[in-house]
């Protein structure tokens, strides 16, 4: 009897180990393709705290450069952004972040107010799989799941990705237990230039009111920040598309005024920031490229320094050492990407 | 008994019904043989074979069959 139990336990361990290994193998690695999927998990490798945390969708992780904020203002910041991050995902990321640190400022990009329902399974995976297991993760999963998804597959992603057996590559083996950093403090760098031409005007909508559930989560964000003594800043990044309607702008402005929150719509500030949509966007206006992001960050850094209790931490340890290293990586990445882009352009023109 | 054996032989000429006692278990008689057999028996012996009598134990050997017929006649 004893022997049987031991054997059973042994084989359960072997099976469990094999499942763990397979799980690691089958998880998409998001290294050479869809690097957005690797963003959320990178936060856990941060060694020092941040004064500013950005939360939101591609309009934050493509448009702000924490490295510039450090170099020019000594502001320590991190972007917890991910692709089509929905507002409940943002809220729970905020809650989770507060478990690790209490920043001075939380910056939330309000574009996701337009989505009142779970959108797509693919984005859910990109945004949620990277989170460490926590109460917040489970709540975010529950709030985000589309109808065909199963909760269990977020606890055991192998149940979702098992059908990748036909498409496993060397990359899946190489990155079994570690990942390369794809971002610079959550910023996904892009140096390509594609001018914005013919930006389509917004189509009229039947209803411009944001969904009640979105308001609810925005309220919870504001409450949460208040509770922790964090300044919540609402922003709308200067992306020309998806279209930002005036009716939406009004609602957010009213809300910010009512709750006493600062709200910056950078779409209206592009001239002051010096953003030129002929040179500062990599995909014709959806997202800024590195040059646009640095311009935007410069402007926002000035605003932060003037309006928020952020500190210039240059020269302070351990920040100085950590950020010097980050800057080096940033500069190297910039150089490499620019070289690649130039090569591509020259190849294209010859 | 002789009459019964001749009925059986007519259905399956190649089987030794006097000794075989696994007619059902070895699938020598299938369900179609069984109902043919019952029809012949009820005719020949003027007994009514009820459906509940159609169980393997009654059809495994000629002897068992014979006993069943006697019992049915007895009632």
């Amino acid at each position: 009897m004893k022997k049987t139990i031991l054997t059973a336990a042994l084989w359960c361990c072997i099976g469990g180990a094999a499942l763990y290994f397979l799980n690691a193998l089958f998880m998409p690695k998001y290294m050479s393709e869809v690097p957005e999927g690797a963003l959320i998990a990178e936060y856990y490798q941060e060694e020092t705290g941040h004064d500013v945390i950005f939360i939101g969708d591609c309009e934050v992780y493509e448009n702000f450069s924490p490295d510039l904020l450090w170099r020019e203002y000594g502001i320590t910041s991190y972007i917890r952004g991910s692709a089509q991050q929905l507002i409940w995902q943002s809220y729970y990321l905020m809650e989770e972040t507060l478990k690790y640190e209490t920043p001075k400022v939380m910056v939330f990009n309000v574009l996701s107010m337009k989505y009142g329902q779970p959108q797509s399974e693919a984005y859910n995976r990109l945004n949620l799989d990277g989170m460490k297991l926590s109460r917040q993760k489970l709540a975010a999963v529950r709030a985000s799941m589309t109808e065909e998804e199963s909760f269990l597959s977020y606890l055991f992603p192998l149940l979702r990705f098992h059908d990748r057996w036909g498409e496993l590559t060397g990359e899946d083996v190489k990155y079994l237990f570690h990942r390369d950093m794809v971002s610079d403090s959550g910023y996904l760098m892009n140096v390509q230039v594609r001018p914005a031409e013919n930006v389509p005007p917004g189509k009229p909508l039947a209803n411009y009111d944001f969904a009640p559930v979105c308001w609810d989560y925005l309220d919870r964000m504001a409450d949460l920040c208040q509770e922790y003594g964090v300044q919540l800043v609402l922003i709308k990044a200067p992306s020309l598309y998806p279209y930002w309607y005036d009716q939406w702008e009004e609602q957010i402005k009213d809300y910010a005024a009512r709750r006493g929150l600062p709200y910056l719509n950078f779409l209206k500030l592009t001239e002051e920031l010096g953003i030129d949509f002929n040179t500062d966007t990599y995909d014709s206006g959806l997202h800024l490229n590195l040059y646009g992001a640095e311009k935007l960050s410069r402007g926002f850094g000035t605003w932060l320094t003037q309006n928020c209790p952020v500190e210039d931490r240059r020269g302070q340890e351990p920040y100085e050492a950590v950020w010097q290293e980050k800057s080096a990586v940033y500069a190297a990445r910039k150089e490499r990407l620019e070289a690649e882009w130039n090569e591509l352009n020259e190849g294209g023109s010859s | 008994m002789e009459e019964l054996l001749s009925i059986l032989r007519e259905i399956h000429p190649d089987v030794d019904f006097e000794t075989c006692n696994t007619l059902i278990d070895d699938q020598i008689l299938d369900s179609i043989d069984i109902v043919t057999l019952v029809a012949e028996i009820s005719d020949a012996f003027d007994v009514e074979v009820p459906p509940e009598a159609l169980v393997p134990e009654n059809f495994n050997s000629a002897k068992a069959l014979w006993e069943m017929i006697q019992q049915l006649d007895e009632a």
Binding site: D163 | I32, A75
Partner: protein
């Protein structure tokens, strides 16, 4: 709740733990509660149907048994006063009284089954006929079939008839009887158990039996693997092939015959493996439903090895009683006297055809199934009648009979013949099915087999390979397990290897199982029958 779902695994896990931790006298009660809980997942209203069947059957059986007791006692008391003839008359009278109870209960329960299952079929056919004469159409009712109704109705009615025949005692406890009808592993797709077979282990107290539990668990895994890796994978190209019959004719129809045979076998026997395995883990012994049916050498044999409990149910409760009934016996006499050898078979063949008609319509309310049933019957009758011809053939080639090569020819012939009849399941209607089968002869175009067309049916080369390896493994296990199941031998002779096999099976199911996003585990094929 599908067997191949995490819901079911969780449900079964909890039930299993409670089953062996609660005091043993509660075990059968727990099974009853669990079964009702399981069944309520199909919709609480289903409980009403199964409740009516359970209560009426239980009550009628007890009534018949009580009557029989009283009648026996009376006869015993008055035995001396009565002559043999009088006794016989009295007995016949008594039987008629009991028969009235039986008939009432049968009519009620088969009536329910008939109404929910066949109303719309009948109405639409009547509408069709009316339309020929320019009449209007009748309404179609939205009757939803209670889950497993064909199975539990048959199981309950089998019990009732057994009690009437005196083959098994009437169960006194309503709770115990309800468990017999609702026992969850076999509720949705059979096997159709007999009370005499199931009840002893169903109500017994079961101590922990590691060996039985391990065997049961292994069988569940094997069933899941068959279903999730092979059946559900092959279901994808099958769906494509059947959805567009115009495009997929000729050699594709042969592919449908072959793939559907493998898919249905893997799905159905996989489900039965889970049923029997789950019951075994609870100490309950459920009758086997399949014995390697694809190795059958003729159609009659195939039906003794495929869905066995259904075949024997129809044989014992329909075919036999019908064959020995007075009208059929009269028919037999008349035909035998008039037509000689063939005449002897007329009555049997009549019964066969009725049997197969009913079997067909039991499978589903459509002409496809009726034609399917009749074809089975006709093939069996023809092979019966051709037997003298076979004998002559074998007398000429005496070495053929029993040789391996000839066996193989017979096996393949039966496989393809049954397969061709079986595709009536999958095509939309009867004429289409025959048109499709016709294209095999008229426009085979076999090049589709090797020009890569099969890679465009919804699954890629890798999936075809997985399905082929899986089906191959099933075949090998079937062949190796003729005397004793492979699992059993492995567990006895190389226990560590058995453990390794189970662990590997779990991993294989997790990786190669067809489940998850974009795929809703296809319900077991037999659920709605």
């Amino acid at each position: 709740m599908s067997f191949a779902s995490t819901q079911f695994l969780a449900f079964f896990g909890v039930l299993f733990l409670l089953y062996y931790t609660l005091p043993r006298r509660f075990q059968w009660k727990l099974l009853l509660v669990g079964s009702l809980f399981f069944y309520s997942f199909a919709g609480w209203w289903c409980l009403i149907y199964i409740g009516v069947t359970t209560v009426t059957t239980w009550f009628t059986a007890r009534r018949m048994a009580a009557l029989a007791r009283e009648q026996d006692a009376w006869l015993k008391e008055h035995r001396a006063e009565l002559s043999k003839e009088e006794r016989k008359t009295r007995k016949a009278q008594d039987k008629r009284v009991r028969f009235r109870w039986l008939l009432g209960c049968l009519l009620l329960n088969f009536g329910i089954l008939a109404v929910v299952k066949y109303t719309n079929f009948v109405l639409s056919n009547i509408s069709g006929v009316l339309a020929l004469f320019g009449g209007g159409t009748l309404p179609i009712f939205s009757l939803v079939l209670p889950m497993g109704i064909s199975f539990y109705t048959f199981q309950a009615m089998g019990y009732l008839i057994d009690v009437y025949w005196g083959k098994c005692p009437a169960e006194g406890s309503l709770g115990k009887f309800a468990l017999f009808v609702t026992f969850f592993p076999q509720l949705i797709q059979g096997p159709i158990s007999r009370f005499g077979d199931l009840s002893p282990t169903l109500y017994e107290e079961h101590p922990w039996n590691g060996r039985q539990i391990a065997m049961g668990g292994e069988r569940i895994l094997w069933g899941l693997a068959k279903k999730l890796i092979v059946a559900d994978r092959l279901a994808i190209p099958l769906r494509t092939l059947v959805a567009d019959p115009e495009q997929y004719s000729g050699v594709y129809v042969l592919a449908v015959i072959f793939l559907y045979a493998v898919q249905l076998y893997a799905d159905f026997t996989g489900g039965i493996d889970i049923t029997i395995g789950a019951a075994q883990m609870l100490g309950v012994q459920v009758t086997e439903n399949f014995i390697r049916p694809f190795f059958s050498k003729n159609v009659a044999e195939y039906w003794r090895r495929w869905h066995i409990t259904m075949g024997t149910w129809f044989r014992d409760y329909l075919f036999y009683p019908m064959s020995v009934s007075k009208p059929i016996l009269k028919l037999h006499q008349r035909c035998r006297n008039r037509f000689g050898r063939f005449g002897k078979h007329v009555s049997v063949h009549t019964c066969s055809l009725i049997l197969w008609f009913v079997t067909g319509i039991w499978h589903g309310a459509s002409w496809n199934f009726i034609v399917w049933g009749m074809l089975n019957g006709i093939v069996i009758i023809i092979s019966q009648e051709l037997e003298p011809l076979y004998d002559k053939f074998h007398a000429r080639f005496p070495r053929l009979r029993g040789s391996r090569g000839w066996d193989l020819v017979q096996i393949l012939r039966t496989f393809w013949l049954m397969g061709a009849i079986r595709v009536l399941d999958v095509y939309r209607d009867v004429p289409l099915t025959f048109r499709q089968l016709g294209t095999v002869v008229t426009s085979l175009r076999p090049q589709a087999l090797w020009d890569g067309s099969f890679l465009e049916l919804g699954i890629g080369a890798g999936d075809w390979l997985v399905a082929a390896v899986g089906a191959g493994a099933m075949l090998v296990c079937s062949l190796l397990g003729r005397r004793e199941p492979v699992r059993q031998r492995l567990t006895r002779e190389h226990p560590q290897l058995a453990w390794a096999g189970c662990t590997a099976l779990v991993l294989l199911i997790v990786i190669f199982g067809v489940y998850g996003i974009g795929f809703d585990a296809a319900q077991f094929i037999y659920n709605q029958f």
